[in-house]
Symmetry: C2
Subunit: 199 residues, 2 copies
DNA sequence: GTCTATACACCGATAGAC
DNA sequence: GTCTATCGGTGTATAGAC
């Protein structure tokens, strides 16, 4: 995970074990809900007893933290890939950014809950786990700036708009599209408000 | 709670005990977080042992459900009181509705988490607990209709906008006003989009 | 009816043997 | 590293005192 220059045979085994544990943790979280994740079940899926997990992660929170980092890293990776295909027209570009965000947030409840926290009682990501999330927000700021949106409040308004659509979608129509289908209208409403020119 | 025509001495004692338990539950939820609510601590605060709570509530979820109903009933009560002072100007009225909602949602994290669910793993409000929440949404629809906003999608867009501001506020600036202060801009943005006339 | 005492199955976490 | 055993916590069920 960290930028190791040399990785011995033992290190590879260690990271492999960590990866396997995290994969199992994601599966449990998706089946039983994020809060329904238990060390005993994760351990069972990787052929261990629960206490053995503590040789690889300091605590259950450390597992959540690693998952948090994985989720935002994956977001970053996919966003990078999608960046090449961004339309030139400002509104179309903004629409595509919003569409990507909503699609990612609506695809996996456990992941969404973890990335946007709150549902795990005392969990707060460490600085290391937070890093990719911070980078993603920076990337969004840069994109908006390129579209002419530079004010902090304008950026905050955009994130609130996206967060609201996602939240209402999960809360009141999970699996449906009652709120996600409002995306185009929401983006146009926002674009009008911050002065992004109409096509 | 229910509409009893006669309330015997025992009934009064029963509802008094229930009320006392719920008050203690709110206190615990505010101190330790909504998920940090434990029956043992609630019981201790009302001078009971944990199992004794089961004489008054069928389960911990039943306590959550009663709290859910209380929160939305309180929202309804305050909204009713505020209704008399609503401005005549459409945008001002919309702004006041939004302001009330945000103020209520931002005032108490445990209450907000409970009213908008999700953080309590398997909890889903019963029909009875849900009733005041449904009434509140109906009231909002009526208000918006009076302002000329009748489309379901327009209503959904408004609820998403409010939900987003509240969520971002709690998630990224709890206790502050980084997102709540965007309220006027958000309302104007929305009013422009749905065609509520400018003053 | 209301409460206590007890018990059960589960949780995260730790200690120590191997 | 992984195990077993265990600790203190949880929600919850039930038997029985009053």
């Amino acid at each position: 995970m960290l930028g190791e220059t040399t990785s011995s045979w033992q290190d590879k085994r260690r990271t492999a074990a960590r990866t396997e544990i995290l994969t199992a943790a994601w599966a449990v979280a998706r089946e039983h809900g994020l809060a329904g994740l238990t060390l005993r079940e994760v351990a069972a899926r990787v052929g261990m007893r629960a206490p053995s997990l503590y040789s690889h992660f300091a605590s259950k929170h450390a597992i959540y933290d690693a998952m948090f980092g994985q989720a935002w890293t994956e977001y970053e990776r996919l966003a990078d890939a999608a960046e090449a295909g961004l339309p030139a027209a400002p509104r179309a570009a903004l629409r595509e950014i919003a569409r990507f965000h909503l699609a990612f947030a609506v695809a996996d409840l456990a992941r969404h809950q973890l990335m946007n926290v709150r549902t795990v009682p005392d969990f707060a990501p460490t600085e290391e786990g937070l890093a990719p999330a911070v980078r993603v927000l920076g990337r969004l700021r840069a994109h908006l700036a390129r579209l002419g949106v530079t004010g902090d409040e304008d950026v905050d308004l955009f994130t609130a708009l996206l967060a609201g659509l996602v939240d209402q979608q999960w809360a009141n129509d999970p699996g449906g599209d009652r709120w996600t289908r409002l995306l185009d209208r929401a983006v146009d409403m926002y674009a009008d408000a911050v002065g992004i020119p109409r096509p």
